[in-house]
Every structure is written in C-alpha cells, then in structure tokens.
Symmetry: C2
Subunit: 212 residues, 2 copies
C-alpha cells in the first residue's frame, strides 16, 4: 500500500530564475502557502550537489508535511528515501525503477493521449501531462494536447492521477481542474513570480474553488 | 566478501571517437585481447539510452568473463547489477553509494596524494589516480601527481588498489606498474587507436612484463 500523496499543487524546482539564497526563500514561501508536493530537479548538476540540495529540500518538505519527489535520478530517490520519483520518456524504464524503488510513487511525463495510455499501462502512479496549451516561449516543447486529453484519460483510467504541466498560469487553472486533472505542476508560475508566496496562495485557492 | 576483480587493464568507454557500429566493434576487440574490466561512461546521455547500452556492454563483459563497472550513476549500477561503481569527487558520496550497493566494488577518482588518502579512509576499494603525467591536450585536467604518489599510497595502504589514469600510452605503462600501480585505466589509448585490438594486446603485454 502506497502512502497517500496530495499532488494538487506540485512544484518543480528550477534554480535558473534565482540565486541560491532567494531560491530557498521561495521554497519556504511555497511550503507555507499551500504547495502539496515538491519535485527536486537539477539538470546538469553533479551528484554530490544534488544530494546536498535534495536532502535540504526533503527535510523542509518533511517539516511541512509536503510530499517530496526526485526527478529522473532513481539513485537520488533511493539515497534520500524520497516519497516518489518522476521519470521522463527518455529516463530509466519505469519497470526498472519500480523494481528498485518498491512502495513508492512513480510518475511519468506524457505529452499526449497515446503516451499517457502507454504510461498508465506501464504502471505509472500518475502522469505529468503537458503541455496542455501552446507554450510560445518554449521552442522545444511538444504540441499542446488540449484539456480534452485530461478528460479522456480520467474517464478511461480514473485511478491514475493526471497532473497538468507546462506553462500553466493562474487563468488556466480552473479549466484544467474542471477537465478532471488531479492537480497542476508549476515551475515559472512560482519561481518566476514577483511575489511567489502570493502566487502559490492564489493557485491553491483557484484549485480548491474549481474542485468544489 | 567481494568478488575478486582484476583491474589490471581497465577500459573506460567513450563514444566521442567513434560511431556506434565502430564503438561496439572496438569493445569486442578489447574483450578478445586482454581487457580485464570495463567501465561504462556516458556523460550527457539520458537514462533510457544508458540503460540499453549498459545492458549490452554488461552482457558482452559477462560473455568474456570481464568485470563490468558503471561510472557515476548508482541507479544504473543497481539496475544492471554491475560488479562495481566508479565515483568522481563530485558524484554521490561514497558512503551513500555503499549503503545501497552492498557487496560491490566502489572506486573513487583522486588527483593527488591527499585525495587518495581521503578516498581510502572513506572506504574506496580502489582509486582511479591521475593524471600521473602532464596531459597537454586536456586543459581542465588537474596538475600531474607523478609516479611517486602511486608508490607512497601503495606503501601506506597496500590493500587498496591504485589504478593510474589520464593520458597513459604504451611508453608510460612500465613506469607506472613498476611504481606499484595495480593497473592502468585507458580511454583514448584504445578508442582513439588506429588498431584498437593491437593496442589492447600490447598494453596487456607491457603490463604483464612490468609486473614480472
Ligand atoms: Ni536498494
């Protein structure tokens, strides 16, 4: 039996936007204002630094009762005893990660309906689905799949969580949640916000209202 | 009790030199001509590709009775049930890797005497020590430590294997082995050779003679 996790407002770390001091301040802003899960991502960093930063984030999450995920690196997930692991389409195969990370939540990125179905059939506990809408600033992004895909996947596979990701701002949240998404995953909407604490608070409020 | 491994002629993979077809031909040349251990390295590749390539290399190594190591990625080492793991100074901490990879060989990179001693005290099974000699083509390399460091470390810590690495060619092998090194680790001396099979065969012969 897996621990129940709340993926309603899932924040992925990105330190591109901020210096280190500011980064950790925003993390605490997130934890105090309604984030329900964190995913530690650190593309291009070495293992020692990832371990140090991941440990710090995990301990902060534990303090606030927030779930802690690791992106891509199964070894970091194991070493930090994370609540779960998020895998991209080109990361280690899900069944391999599952074997060595039993009892944990494993999520998979999907950009469209077909990848979503394959991911669910491969045993993903949740999908990080996106982009849902066009993402004009991200040139390498997949084409947007639209909110209909959320609806379709949730109708066919009600037991798998679907978390929408990709260029989600305040205005799009209601539409996503009403389409049936279990939550939203954000990066720049928080780390790129002028007032991250307020941004988190408002995202959470909008989700709660849309779920009513 | 750990499996006994022979690190006499330790080849690190590098596919910068070769296309894929040629790469796998050289791997077989190595296995047939006296390589005793392989380390799978794939900087910048994604997990899925690393898993596929690593699995192929591991199976080839098993066929020839050659030890199989993974560089940096503890998760890949676990997933492939490798014989061991090689960690750089900035990778996951050795004690963390040890905890989740029991009974396996774990080696550590060291560029000088001090790093070597710290690595041995941290519990490394072997050191990848280097560069021993100046490496004019590699601008980011540490300063050469000289063969005296091999001698000193082996005198003080005879139970830890020392493998010399960094710009080692045929001519330097004898001096390194006579200084007490347990083996040599090579990349370009094999993958960059005009005739890799012959290069491997000659390196092995030189090592064997120097050890007599
Ligand atoms: Ni384990």
């Amino acid at each position: 039996i897996k621990p129940s996790v709340d993926l309603t407002l899932y924040v992925l770390t990105d330190d591109v936007y901020l210096n280190e001091e500011k980064f950790w301040r925003v993390v605490e802003d997130c934890l105090k204002n309604g984030v329900t899960a964190f995913q530690y991502r650190a593309k291009g960093k070495k293992g020692a630094e990832m371990y140090r930063e991941g440990l710090r984030l995990k301990e902060l999450c534990a303090k606030y009762g927030v779930s802690f995920f690791v992106n891509d690196r199964l070894d970091l997930g194991i070493a930090l005893n994370a609540d779960g692991l998020h895998l991209g389409q080109e990361d280690l195969p899900l069944e391999v990660a599952r074997k060595h990370f039993p009892g944990k939540i494993i999520g998979l990125s999907a950009t469209n309906y077909e990848e979503g179905v394959l991911g669910i059939k491969a045993g993903a506990d949740y999908l990080g689905l996106g982009p849902i809408f066009p993402t004009p600033t991200k040139e390498d992004a997949a084409p947007p799949c639209g909110v209909e895909v959320i609806q379709k996947l949730k109708e066919e596979f009600p037991n798998t969580s679907v978390i929408a990701i990709g260029g989600i701002d305040q205005e799009k949240v209601s539409e996503i949640i009403r389409a049936g998404a279990d939550g939203i995953a954000v990066i720049s909407a928080v780390f790129g916000a002028e007032n991250p604490a307020r941004a988190v608070y408002e995202l959470r409020e909008t989700i709660v209202k849309a779920k009513e």
